[in-house]
Point group: C3
Chain length 364, copies 3
């Protein structure tokens, strides 16, 4: 519960109207039910709803200059203002206080102050949980794990042996940090290897050829302020570490292979897949369902479009899309060409007819 | 254990043969082991197996008219009959009776009659679990959650604070209802935003620019009779609600972003991804691995093909496929054109040769 | 801790140098910190690091013949040697000894010798856990399940009623074996069915048409030596069984539909999706994010490329890619044609101009 005056100050906005109005909820203009509701206007499209719903207080982009309601706050970056507003009106995740009696904590683990370990969590030997960190429920932390301060691990998260999770990291439900890498080899070269080398398929006379597992003896390092989505899997390294850089945000159901390195402040959208040893720079954006094969690299500030199938290294600041992925400009040209293909077929047919006609006339 | 007569009546089929025969199992014709087995024939392809396996009782599509076994039931819609049959022969999921002693239930939660809460489940403060609902094992229900009657939550499901789950909803193992939305903003426009606006990539002089989180203070509403697949993630809304309409069925490993609205009786196949605020109508079918970006809408009765990458709104009753998605007819034409391309290249080459020949002859 | 002599023997390599040197760690050449580190050289690219990091012991491919360090082991297949080396230096997953007091085991379950059942696991009625098998934590095993010997089930794995898991199977965190199949039918043919049959969309006058569930009364069989990735979902069969053949390795977040059959020694990379009743042969490799629709088959030794959208059966030993998937050779040709399209447009334009010029000259 805040006043309009307090809110305007907090979001760095310009208030027109009564600063003493008390706001209880932030809502879409369609859901306003009374004077305690502040309507969030992100675009002019919803202005029509204001009168209809007897809206009295609005927060809106500065471009709208004047709004026909008693009180409004104008802001220059509405989504940033929204982020600030939702800090004010945050509804914190419920967590049990202290260590729940059903939690199992190895005696050798070190649990910091103000830590919450909820029902049915497990913390293995020699693991360290930093001050103020919360494990909601059914969280599993293996042996020799280090988790920083003020981290939040939602229900069903698992963090495998020896992994390191930084400060203020948020891990959504069911994410898996430190599964084994998908790494195998056959005693003799098989069709697997042939496919990788883009050679022909080899017939294995020994059809029962064993697939030998390459154990993962490395771990995962998640730096400070990273967020990891629900169901996302980050595999441990074969040797060394799989690393997610500070401030990077990863969405749900993303697959990160063994030995991948992701730089700082990247955005990785849902269902992206990265093969082993892929290397992603800083401030990279990867769209939903895109795929990055083993060992590929993506440079700083690059943008990989949704569903892209990267098939070569992506240079810094490059923007690619398509499967196989090409620069966005080429992709647009390619699609334009596709659309003109029927017409092109037609033009060639006409050319053939005219030429035949000419040749006939000339008695060739 | 039912008689053929009872079965024929239950599936609304026409029985030829002995109605008193007792059936113990329904099986594929290849797996029949005795007279207690009813062979399920979905197409004529498997008729050859009947004699070979000494099959005595069969259920088959009405088109087959006469089948050379002692007893058979003919039905007009075999898959519907199969659905009815499997209601008769259902093998219910095992669940512990009542509240298991290892379950942790907040004293303020309201647990209805005949509810089963299995081992290591947790129900948070003020949550409500309706009559006859079952939580198998390791299920986590946060604070202020409402779950309806006769729902079934499989192992490892998590339902976050304030979410609402309707009657008879089935949630498969490990699904996550109410993770936080993937919503972020930078203080200054970054290459993230530039990419979204399809403008050029902006170089951030401040390469450590913080990514600000937009908290999700909304929740998820799952209406009655919805089914949600294993590992599927449905994010909570930023404000308001993410909503799955009555009777909609969602397969495994599907990603549903914050503030998405899905109408009634849709089928969403495995590994589909939907960005924030996408809007799906009623009776929509979305094929496996298809992607729907932020804010896109799909009209009633539309069909989105597998692996489609929707890049604009899909009208009601439209059927699209491809990435970027186009109407199915165009996609087929496009693929035909692709296949003719080598030939088209050849034709143009021939035209060039002939024209050069003509020009030479004419001394141009 | 092993000597170079022991290691050389174990990996079947040829040692130059001192067999008595004691090795404590295997590391990337860039991470060598002392004489106890054995640097793993997989290619000549990293040879420059050896002097720089004062590397004293190296394992390298036989092609490199001579290396400028005191001790080196040459091997013919470096990745195989790596696999062997990591057996030597394996860091076993931490697991609680015996049955943890917080685990819940039904009195009718049969638990073999040397079994470890970790915190908050559940084993249902009549289930059998074989000798030496380990359930790390939060694992859920339903009723009538059979798990073989020396299997390893990581945190949060669920195995549903009646499923069978073989010997030495490894299941990574959060994988779900035996969720219900995604199988539904409407009382009257709906647009769902129409879409499947590639006919036109049917308008359902009854917009509230119920979707009838087809129960899954079958189960899942995982044969010996299979590995299943984190978050992967394998649905139970409608009737009969969904089956994963001996030695097959499945990566993270893979979707395997009901009644799928996969042969022996396949490699299925992350985020692959397979629809109901798909059939995969032996030694098949399926690249990341590829999709296989219902009822399709892939023959022995076939290779399906990453992100491929299979749209017809794939023959044995065939290699396909693209969406819709085509033989690799055609795909390469197709992409070459795409790249030449702008040029082709230009050539046709020139032909038209020249022909018009000719026609003009000839006064047609």
């Amino acid at each position: 519960m805040k006043t309009l005056g307090e809110i305007a100050k907090y979001v760095d906005g310009k208030l027109q109207g009564d600063p003493a109005v008390v706001i209880k909820r932030i809502v879409h203009p369609a859901l306003v039910r009374g004077p305690g509701d502040l309507a969030l206007v992100l675009s002019a499209n919803v202005l029509g709803l204001l009168k209809q719903n007897q809206v009295t207080s609005v927060i809106a982009p500065a471009e709208l200059t004047s709004i026909d309601v008693p009180n409004y706050i104008l802001v220059s970056r509405p989504r940033l203002a929204l982020a600030r507003l939702l800090e004010l009106f945050e509804r914190p995740v419920y967590s049990a206080e202290g260590i729940h009696p059903s939690a199992v904590i190895d005696p050798s683990a070190k649990i910091g102050e103000k830590v919450s370990v909820g029902p049915h969590c497990w913390v293995g030997p020699n693991s360290i949980i930093g001050t103020g960190t919360r494990l909601i429920c059914n969280v599993s932390v293996g042996a020799d794990v280090e988790i920083g301060e003020k981290a939040l691990l939602h229900p069903g998260v698992s963090v495998g042996d020896r992994c390191k999770v930084g400060n203020r990291v948020i891990i959504q439900p069911g994410a898996c940090i430190g599964g084994d890498g998908f790494s195998f080899v056959t005693p003799q070269p098989g069709n697997v290897e042939a496919a990788r080398q883009k050679k022909q398929i080899v017939e294995n006379t020994d059809s029962n050829m064993e697939i030998v597992r390459i154990n993962s003896i490395g771990h995962v390092v998640i730096e400070d302020d990273v967020e990891i989505g629900a169901g996302t899997c980050i595999d441990r390294a074969t040797l060394g570490e799989t690393k997610i850089g500070r401030g990077t945000k990863i969405d749900n159901l993303v697959q990160i292979g063994h030995n991948v390195t992701i730089g700082r402040n990247c955005l990785i959208v849902a269902q992206v897949g990265m093969g082993g040893s892929a290397k992603v720079g800083e401030r990279v954006v990867i769209g939903g369902q895109a795929g990055l094969p083993d060992h590929m690299s993506v440079g700083d500030d690059a943008v990989v479009g949704p569903q892209a199938g990267v098939s070569g290294n992506v240079a810094a600041r490059q923007s690619v899309i398509g499967s196989p992925a090409v620069p966005v400009r080429d992709f647009i040209q390619q699609n334009m060409n596709f659309k003109r293909l029927s017409r092109l077929n037609q033009r060639v047919k006409e050319l053939e007819a005219k030429l035949a006609e000419l040749e006939k006339r000339l008695g060739s």
